[in-house]
């Protein structure tokens, strides 16, 4: 696929209470956003198991993001976002060892009042991943597992 035609597919795990609400407001406010981000609403960013992220990459995502409520105080459940910031730095290092570029996995905080920040994130992320090109994990696996001498 020619680079310029490449439209990345980005999976976004968004917390129901903050970032999902921000994305909702961004839509209602007609803020300009690329069509490359597929949102999966979860009740809490702390509920995102690292295997969800890995499965995203395995099944064709070019980027995966996890966003929730600002710590310390914004979490609807008190400290769900603490789980997030304890897990995600370790997951970043794991993905680096898997050879997945750091731009392809991002996580952080966007509150319900930060719709413009969400719209900006989707634009920036899509551009960055367009530059990186497709990940195509499955075809990479197939190619590397069947390659002979």
């Amino acid at each position: 696929m020619a680079e310029k035609d490449f439209e990345p597919r980005i999976i976004a795990f968004l917390c129901n209470w903050c970032t999902y609400a921000a994305a909702d407001v961004a839509g209602i406010s007609r803020l300009k956003q690329p069509l490359n981000v597929d949102i999966i609403r979860v009740m809490c960013s702390g509920r995102v198991d690292p295997s969800f992220v890995l499965k995203g990459f395995l099944e064709g995502a070019d980027g995966v993001i996890v966003f929730g409520c600002h710590p310390p105080g914004d979490c609807h459940y008190g400290e769900g976002n603490y789980k997030t910031f304890r897990r995600m730095p370790l997951l970043e290092r794991l993905l680096e060892q898997y050879g997945i570029e750091e731009e392809r996995f991002q996580w952080g905080w966007i509150s319900a009042a930060e719709a413009p920040k969400w719209a900006e994130l989707t634009r920036e992320l899509t551009e960055k991943i367009k530059e990186l090109g497709p990940l195509n994990w499955n075809s990479y696996l197939e190619e590397s597992e069947t390659k002979e001498a």
Binding site: P50, L58, Y82, R93, L141, S144, K147, E148, A149
Partner: protein, 320 residues
Amino acid sequence: MAGKPKVAFYWAASCGGCEIAVLEIREKILDLVQAVDIVFWPVAMDIKYKDVEAMEDGGIDVCFFNGAIRNTENEHMARLLRAKSRTLVAYGSCAHEGCIPGLANLSDREAIFDVVYKDTASTENGDDLVPQTRHEFAEGEVELPVFYNSVKTLGQTVPVDYFVPGCPPQADQTWAVFEAFVKGELPAPGSVIGAGEKTVCDECERVKEEKKVKEFFRIHEIIPDEKKCLLEQGIVCAGPATRSGCGGLCPMVNLPCRGCYGPPPEVVDQGAKLLSAVASVVDADTEEEARQIVSQIVDPIGTFYRFGLAASLLRRRKMK
């Protein structure tokens, strides 16, 4: 079954420990050979591949296959033994989930050959010779197996009926599997046998209290308390994300579980689950503090996927 059941044992990419594990049933091996005919076992008997090729399809009742699939020879034998065996058992961690050979999936053939044949300080290889798969002599041509880029598990190569986890499987579990087979009491195909249905934590007798870790240690950096949960002492222990069945042997001798029995039931990716469990006990109140604490875990993939990289969701590193 007419006559005694026919049993085969084979090793592919493995260390040989699973062969020893079979003998760990000790004198019961004599009971085993009373009950079955062993028709193929390269480590113990002089039977050639061509003899196996001459057997009729389905002629072996059960084959215990240990070792991962690293090269064309391993794959050829996996396919051959699959065709000849009614029941194929992935015996031990390498066949089950790639085990230590599977960690080579952090590299590829070219990088491995460079290290082994060129780059190590003790290697003198002025002509940069690497093994070729064919060579012609005056007497004829010889062939070597082709070394693959990736290590695969047995189940990723051919259909497997049962999986016996462990590096190596424990003797009592191996015996239980032999007994179940001889008595015809095996569960539905596709099952993990010779193991438990819970986690290693469940059978570990250490005292478990509150898990709040400020500092992680590698095993040579600390002499752990002998009673207290190792994870609570900052030692990465794979117990929370590892299938039970070994009896908690490693924690019993003050060593952390390394995860050789693979993921517990319903868990797809052992490393991701272990990462999740370990990170959740990090006692950090800010992102910076969490980063600082988890930076003490030196090699996340080697730690969380020590035995399961080849069977994990992503299976291998993407090389540049």
